[in-house]
């Protein structure tokens, strides 16, 4: 058995291996001992007389780059493994590296892979902290790599941070860049590194905000960011709390805060249509009841297949207590007749049950209900939907549509489209008939009327197919 001593780096291995091959030392006969491991040992390794003077060996290029990485691995058996593969490469198996399922090659590749991964993690997880030294800024990081990769990775940091003075401290070695040269030193404990950096608060803010709690996947995170590196990552302190809060945060994304309709306090116990209509008369959920003559409730048979929802009663509706009987109601009736829908077969109501107006008693001017009034009244509308159980809802105008689908709904963009909603599988919005009466531009008015009629025609077709 030949015992050989070598420094734990590739250069030392190369010269030793060259000499061994020249002497024809078969791999099974050689024992490699690293310089540090040998210290204190009573057994001195044999000196190699011709070390470094053996003939240059022709080996595949791929072996050299592989050996360079494997040399960084902490595995003490790597030198013997490298030598065995080198021997086989130079003794009739030149193509050996191509056979990746060979046990030796597979082992070498595994070591290489571990070093690559560790180097990648060093590039990723080094966190510099800025300190001032003699008026100059200096960036210092502490990192704990698995393998002896500091020299291997240092050039990456030189390339990337050439204009900064920096140091990376590790337990095995330290590396410093002074804008011109790289210097190396002995390893140091973590306590040598500075604590904290003013920017870490900002970075933590970013880290917490960029996480989407609806996609929580702790396993994937841990696979890529092993816990042993967390100690040096300032953002890692946030992780436990972020994970804990995720379900709650997701729940608030999925079910937005429910708005409570004021009218729900006035709803009767029995929720059939006559009971609802009678209870609505005394509703005081919003200030509109103060100036309105009466609440105007919906009309139509129980189980009507389609429910039309307008905005709010007008002047005439307010006096007579029935929905859609004014000029807009007449236009509505006309178009319904033209497309072949009998109004008696439908349920007609408004999003807001009380007339809202400005001006004086002689000239009561319609005022579009505000969001608060619409919301206050919403409980009545929902109770009507629940009692009538229509299969289709057709909203006339933006106010009605927004009551169902939120303030983002735009009539101009989504008019005539059919949506599936929690209330009915077939939901559509179209113009309000009074909008058709008010449009000043004649051409626009004609177009809008045509659209309105076409939309109701679709409703009629759908009704026939039910």
């Amino acid at each position: 058995m030949t015992r050989v001593g070598l420094e734990p780096d590739l250069e030392s291995f190369r010269s030793v291996a060259r000499a061994l091959i020249a002497r024809g030392e078969a791999p099974g006969q050689v024992l490699f001992e690293e310089a540090r491991g040998r210290q204190g040992s009573l057994l001195a390794a044999e000196p190699l007389p011709d070390a470094g003077t053996g003939p240059a060996l022709a080996v595949p290029k791929a072996f050299l780059s592989l050996a360079e990485l494997v040399a960084c691995h902490r595995e003490p058996g790597r030198w013997a493994l490298l030598y065995r593969v080198l021997w086989r490469l130079t003794h009739g198996e030149r193509q050996l590296l191509e056979v990746e399922s060979d046990a030796d090659v597979y082992r070498l590749r595994s070591l290489e892979k571990a070093v690559r991964r560790d180097s990648h993690k060093m590039k990723a997880f080094v966190r510099f902290r800025r300190v001032e030294r003699e008026g100059q800024e200096h960036f210092i990081a502490w990192h704990r790599p698995d393998h002896l990769i500091v020299r291997h990775v240092a050039p990456f940091f030189v390339e990337r941070f050439a204009t900064m003075r920096w140091s990376i401290l590790t337990p095995d070695a330290c590396v410093h860049w002074d804008l011109e040269r790289l210097t190396y030193g002995e390893g140091v404990p973590r306590s040598e590194a500075p604590e904290g950096d003013a920017l870490e608060a900002l970075w933590s803010t970013y880290y917490a905000s960029t996480f989407n709690p609806a996609r929580l996947n702790v396993k994937a995170m841990r696979a890529e960011m092993p816990k042993k590196h967390w100690a040096t990552l300032p953002e890692a302190r946030l992780i436990p709390a972020l994970v804990r809060q995720a379900p709650e945060r997701t729940a608030s994304m999925v079910t937005p805060e429910l708005e409570v309709s004021e009218a729900s306090h006035f709803l009767p116990e029995r929720r059939d249509l006559p009971a609802l209509a009678s209870a609505a008369k005394s509703c005081q959920a919003c200030p509109l009841h103060e100036r309105a003559t009466q609440a105007v409730f919906g009309e139509g048979p129980l189980g009507a297949p389609v429910m039309f929802v307008g905005e709010q009663p007008g002047d005439q509706e307010d006096r007579e207590g029935r929905p859609f009987i004014g000029p807009a109601g007449q236009l509505f009736n006309e178009v319904l007749a033209r497309v072949g829908i009998r109004r008696e077969d439908t349920y007609v109501t408004n999003a807001v049950k009380h007339f809202g107006w400005t001006g004086d008693e002689k000239r009561r001017l319609h005022a579009t209900p505000n969001r608060r009034e619409v919301l206050a009244c919403k409980a009545w509308l929902e109770a009507e939907v629940a009692a009538v159980k229509p299969r289709m809802i057709v909203c006339l105008g933006a106010t009605a549509a927004q009551t169902f689908l939120g303030p983002g709904f735009r009539i101009n963009r989504s008019r005539g489209q059919v949506f599936e909603t929690p209330w009915t599988p077939w939901w559509m919005a179209t113009f309000h008939p009074s909008a058709l009466l008010r449009m000043p531009d004649e051409q626009a008015r004609e177009e809008a009327r045509a659209h309105f009629e076409a939309d109701l025609r679709r409703v009629a077709e759908r009704l026939r197919s039910l």
Partner: protein, 416 residues
Amino acid sequence: MDVRQKLQILADAAKYDASCASSGGKRKTLPGGLGSVEGTGICHSYTPDGRCVSLLKILLTNFCIYDCQYCVNRISSDTPRARFTPEEVVRLTLDFYKRNYIEGLFLSSGVLKSADYTMEQLIEVARTLREEHQFQGYIHLKAVPGASRELIDAAGKYADRLSANIELPTDGDLRRLAPEKSFATTGETMREIHARVEQSKAERQESPQAPRFAPAGQSTQMIVGATPTPDAIILDTASNLYTRYGLKRVYYSAYSPIPSSDVRLPAKSPPLVREHRLYQADWLMRFYGFSVGELAPPEQPDLPLDMDPKLAWALRRRDAFPVDVNRAPREMLLRVPGLGVRTVDRLLRIRRWHQVTLADLGRLRVSLTRVKPFIVTADHRPTVLLDSPRLAERVRPPPTQLSLFSSAVAARTGEL
């Protein structure tokens, strides 16, 4: 409002965007400059959703004149709003970069005033970084669909990657949920980027000094699960984008519920398994020679959730198996469930020197239970397994909730 508050709002607003890779470019540091770009991107951190942080991904502003229903920043949303100045973004990028938190910047924005005005603001950030600070880190800019040609040109001069978002898988989906957007407008912007990328490549072949244009190419993002569109159509759209505009990546982002969203959108946790299957299918189309019709045939237009799309294909096409590992061409080996591109390339090298056996496959870390029914090796020939009606059960991974279950447990206990 201070920078920290803005950062909170504008990073939060960007968290729904899936694309964040920093790969594909290459930049050497400049004398007196900061930063570099390596061919393979580096993920500097990971958030508890398992996604990496490689770039400072923020919006310049989340004010937006559009009303896309799936987007938390739509004009009708009551989300808190903020706006960075270009200088603030530059400062943050440089400060984060110097501490090695990030690889660079991924800057997007709500649409302010107009597509052109917004694009100008994004470009100003990139220009300042590149020209005034000699910053050589990675920059990914959103190309605002509909921005003018001159602005796209300028953006590509500074950015490593440009991306115009297709947003939804069909034009009909867009009409329904994003009325201001259309395939036509976004396509025009993508076409413009593609043309300039190609032109710059040609010029650089003539002279290596010719300026580069978005050297890491262009990508796009598509939201999945906000509309009922099936996987076959999603993959068709992706496939068209790859061929038509030479895209590097199509990102699929499972629709995440957004606060106070419209009832037209699903209010449930994102379909992450479906998103994962789409990425697998996308990969199979780009690197394995599969077509959309093979992965999502008309009679089954959605990818199965309980097995990967390649295995599902193999079970439908049992007549194509077994495949002889020692003789079959590369294209056929790539179709064997359980064999990836790297393994196939290794096998092709190994079989030049000796007959491949099951032991070889084992040492290459191939799952033997998975591949055995589909292959022939020097020492193995599948018996009746291929005809067995229980084949699917044998090769399918056990039905787990993927990582969702373990996350739920971790979430409950706070244990990591």
